[in-house]
Symmetry: C2
Subunit: 358 residues, 2 copies
């Protein structure tokens, strides 16, 4: 018995759905175990089907033993009506943030034209699997700890080699090489290395700029371990930091540690974000903290819940989250500090142990 | 004057649209030059706008000088109605294969609730920018040649080092390292290395299997050069090939070279696919060639046109395409041979020069 599928089946019943089409890649993997790059799940109270094309048939059979594997050819409008008609019921949910408008139109049309399936209705649903996936099982937490340890080690290893004149790109590549040579899967996101004024761009791509003494160097790096991602940011400097850097760094660190010390389960994502934001606002840099405090991490580097303004997502034990406030000043630079935490006994416990400069 | 935007404007008029919302990342980059990971374009006959959040404002201004940069906060339903209302007209196209059903619903609702924008209608359109992007300009072809030369060099370099006992993963990592250390951007796709029976899975992930003498080793690798992708597959072996390998290899090579010699502009993607498929079918392996002959390549590794069954896409000069037939036999292995070509004076010219074993 697949407990993840059973949790989803409870949701189907809450949502009055007779079945659900799962199209989102990581949701498919999470529920079935099938890691191929193409395929769908169709899950009803008594059936669990994975559909994929000829390229992945063998793999799907091996990886998803709890599922019936059905070979498909072509896009869902070709095979979905006949298959869905065999499930019984009428209302089939689909992941409306993943299915494109064009695919929805084509599916609707295909159902209408099918004698066997014209009674079926497609019901858009959102965040059905994601909140299940957000709460990690023990086995998942072990993998996430390993992912976090790997990005910690990569950072520590490479940070020790950074000297004036080394370029952002060289730093990023040294990190990537360390990660890959020490077992990381495909990196969860492009490594960010921004130095001096470049660090004012939170998502800067590493360039040919040589790093210099005294300026901020923001490094944002993640590993992937058996599918699970980590996410770590450190801001460092060479030599003596300029005065502004010391000041800004201490504010960001205070905000980051405040969130770490006061975040708790049952808070909303907006409330968690506020913990750090208040510190930065009161220090006079509210406008310069232009992104959210953090996000869930798992099979996807940015996943449910969202820790930011307007988020009603509720924090719960077992969730793995980032705590990553920042201050960005155009023309000067930026500071961001990010740890990945797991909510445990109501409180965050850090999974990131890379040294913070001070 | 931006010639790409002008081509799009001609299409707007053909489609009776007053403006178009561009959400697809590479289409945004192609039209505007803006390479950030978040943003939209809004293009009307007399305006060209790029919207992005605070993280990318500086970058958008630098990279998209022909565009007006507008700062946005939040998702399109928050800012789109007011901005779209300033454009004049009524019918605004959107990329329906890129916009999710949920986003379409939220946008429609936001328009209906906006006093200024409730007269606007969202019109789903598909493959508006992609066929423009498919025909490469001279400057793009230069970059694609460089991307192809880089994957050729990586293959040649690493192929020379493969010996019995080296694992698939080690081969893939050696390729990746060569590519990155020689200037490749983020790899366009995960490198495929499949040996022996693993090579029967066309999209196998490299594993810990050591390669052995006599068996097929399929290597599918691409580089990215200033955004542009290459795509190359070679099947090699160590020592003396087993008899089946020699036979299957020669059939695939014949099919690949036949497509190369007979493909021509004005053919449909289905007709091009047929050229190679006929050779494989007549050799008795039709069932074992389970994928399409090829696809366009550019800013996206798989893009318009599609060279496969049912494709009515028409080949034209300036298109960069792959020619990649294959034969896959469960339990034994597979062979795929892929060159990237540019259509020039009506015929394909190969951009791939890596040695084919024979």
């Amino acid at each position: 018995m697949n407990i993840r599928v059973e949790k989803l089946r409870s949701k189907l019943s809450e949502l009055s759905l007779d079945a659900i089409l799962i199209s989102q890649t990581e949701n498919r993997r999470y529920l079935s175990g099938f890691t191929g790059s193409a395929g769908y799940l169709l899950i009803s109270p008594d059936r669990a089907i994975v559909t994929t094309d000829f390229r992945y048939l063998e793999q799907a059979g091996l990886e998803a033993p709890d599922f019936q594997v059905i070979r498909i050819t072509g896009e869902p409008p070709k095979w979905f009506p006949d298959l869905a008609a065999t499930l019984g019921g009428q209302k089939i949910g689909f992941e409306s943030t993943d299915i494109s408008f064009a695919m929805y139109q084509a599916l609707t049309q295909a159902l209408a034209q099918s004698q066997a399936a014209k009674h079926l209705r497609l019901i858009p649903v959102q965040q059905v699997v994601e909140p299940i996936r957000a709460v990690k099982e023990e086995s998942e937490l072990k993998l996430m700890q390993q992912a976090a340890a790997l990005s910690d080690a990569a950072f520590e290893h490479v940070a020790a080699t950074i000297a004036p004149g080394v370029t952002e790109k060289q730093i990023a590549w040294a990190l990537e090489k360390y990660l890959k040579e020490n077992g990381s899967g495909p990196l969860p996101f492009d490594i960010i290395v921004g130095s001096g004024p470049n660090s004012a761009l939170p998502h800067i791509r590493p360039g040919d700029r040589p790093v210099q003494e005294g300026e901020p160097i923001v490094i944002d790096v993640g590993a992937r371990w058996k599918g699970y991602c980590s996410d770590l940011t450190r801001t460092i400097w060479l030599g003596k930091p300029d005065k502004k850097l010391t000041q800004v760094y201490d504010i960001v660190l205070a905000a980051q540690l405040t969130a770490m010390a006061t975040m708790a389960t049952s808070m909303t994502g907006e409330q968690a974000d506020r913990l750090a934001r208040t510190v930065i606002e009161q220090a006079g840099y509210g406008e310069a903290f232009g992104h959210s405090l953090g996000h869930g991490v798992g099979l996807v580097p940015h996943e449910f819940p969202r820790l930011g303004s307007g988020s009603t997502d509720v924090l719960a034990n077992g969730m793995v989250l980032t705590d990553e406030p920042g201050i960005y000043i155009t023309g000067w630079g930026g500071v961001r500090i990010e740890d990945m935490v797991v909510m445990e006994n109501g409180r965050p416990k850090s999974l990131s142990h890379a040294r913070k400069q001070s």
